[in-house]
Subunit: 257 residues, 2 copies
DNA sequence: TTTTAGATATCGCGA
DNA sequence: TCGCGATGTCTAAAA
């Protein structure tokens, strides 16, 4: 195998003709490189649904692991994509460069037909750094598992992330009176869906353990319809703020100084 | 005649020094251009949550509308992002190029510190094409609204996308016996959440209209726990396939020939 | 593989 | 603006 192209210096083509672009892509796709193509193209997708966009200028990203993204000029989401691909094919059909990214499970295909390539690049992309995130629900769960009394005085932890056949219970506790309490956590405003999720767990625990089982929904906020539903089911809402709770616990340094 | 915006030649910097990169970005960010930077950088985010990644090679995308994406070598998702930003600032701190993208509502900030820029590009990106998707839930809904008898013989449509205070009812029908039927559609395998969603609607309609109200969950598949829950609530599952149903209706040409 | 639930989800619609 | 639900959601985790 020839030496990996683009291992040190990025390679760039500006306004290439279709033959040059085809060769460039053929030699660099599937080599562990990040390949980008900016140009005028059409995009078609067929799989779980089907979509089509006519000619326009887009940026195509081909990642080393096979991820395939077609970005337009606006927004967070790509207009078409493939989270991971099994094969990416490059061909030239009468001056049109065709990129076809396919995967199985689900069986899907994205086809980009590039009528005019304006810019193509290829470069190695090394990133072994670990991604650290704080403020997720699991952080909130850990903090409250340590100090369940913050949810309600006298509350004691029985179990955490308890898997059941209807889903995982965030926190299973016992209150001051010895009753079982199912606690469902949300890091965002809680909706009706959160309430029905809690209901499923309470029903299950009640069925398994017998006796009265309480339900508590802990979140920074709750929607009005969710509060109504919650009260009708006899459950309780407790306000908790993830960002308030965590710095006191984690004592991590400020990200921006 | 001045060249059209998108006809301009893309601009490219390879292995620029930090001053050159800083100037390049300062002059091109906020000009309606798509700007990309590939290089070694750290990324920090603070907002609804907080995250940090140490040095690694990433690709930064700055879209004309302010969307901001930092992509690593793997996967569909960016490692950091901002769906739309109010301001993007460029500065140079002792040889490190710093990009700071902020937005309000929610108040958030992403900061990229580029220690070594390897490739930077800027180009106009024109795309006025309309995106056409078939096979979404709303397509399925339209098809079944036309022919409710495909869900159950004798079923007649009363209303569609009916907004209520607990959410929108996909299809409200009357069966052969004149009873009200709430139909909830899913284009994917239906889960317990879909069942509780249906339950909310049935409860509401029953409360408002009085009398017995039936519930039907129409989807291509249903999970086993969802089926159990559905049956316990006295509802019915009907199998419908979006991709089967739509081609007969739409008669669109094959995307790939 | 199936199922569930989280996500800095994002996005769009309706009240 | 809030609330709700779809998304070609994607992704990780657990059974």
């Amino acid at each position: 195998m020839p030496p990996a192209a683009g291992a040190d210096r990025p390679e760039v083509l500006i306004d290439p003709d279709s033959e040059t672009l085809t060769e460039f892509l053929r030699d660099r796709v599937h080599r562990g490189l990040l390949v980008t193509v900016l140009g005028e193209c059409t995009v078609a997708y067929e799989g779980r649904a089907a979509s089509q966009v006519q000619h326009g200028e887009r940026l195509v990203l081909l990642k080393p692991d096979g991820a395939f993204l077609v970005h337009g000029p606006r927004g967070y989401r790509p207009i078409n994509w493939q989270p991971s691909t099994d094969t990416v094919m490059v061909s030239n059909e009468g001056g049109v460069v065709v990129l076809t990214a396919t995967r199985r499970n689900p069986d899907e295909r994205v086809e980009v037909r590039i009528r005019r390539g304006r810019l193509a690049t290829a470069a190695a992309l090394e990133d072994s750094s670990q991604f650290l995130l704080t403020g997720s629900e699991s952080d909130l769960q850990a903090a409250l598992a340590e100090r369940p009394e913050l949810i309600e005085p006298g509350l004691r932890l029985e179990d955490r992330e308890l898997p059941t056949r209807v889903g995982g219970i965030d926190l299973l506790c016992r209150d001051a009176g010895g009753r079982l309490v199912v606690v469902e956590l949300k890091r965002n405003r809680a909706s009706q869906a959160a309430v029905t999720q809690l209901k499923r767990y309470v029903d299950l625990v009640s069925e398994q353990a017998g006796g009265e089982v309480r339900g508590i929904l802990a979140a920074p906020e709750i929607t009005e319809p969710a509060r109504t539903l919650l009260e009708r089911m006899g459950f309780k809402y407790v306000e908790v703020d993830p960002m308030d709770l965590l710095p006191a616990e984690g004592e991590q340094p400020a990200l921006f100084s």
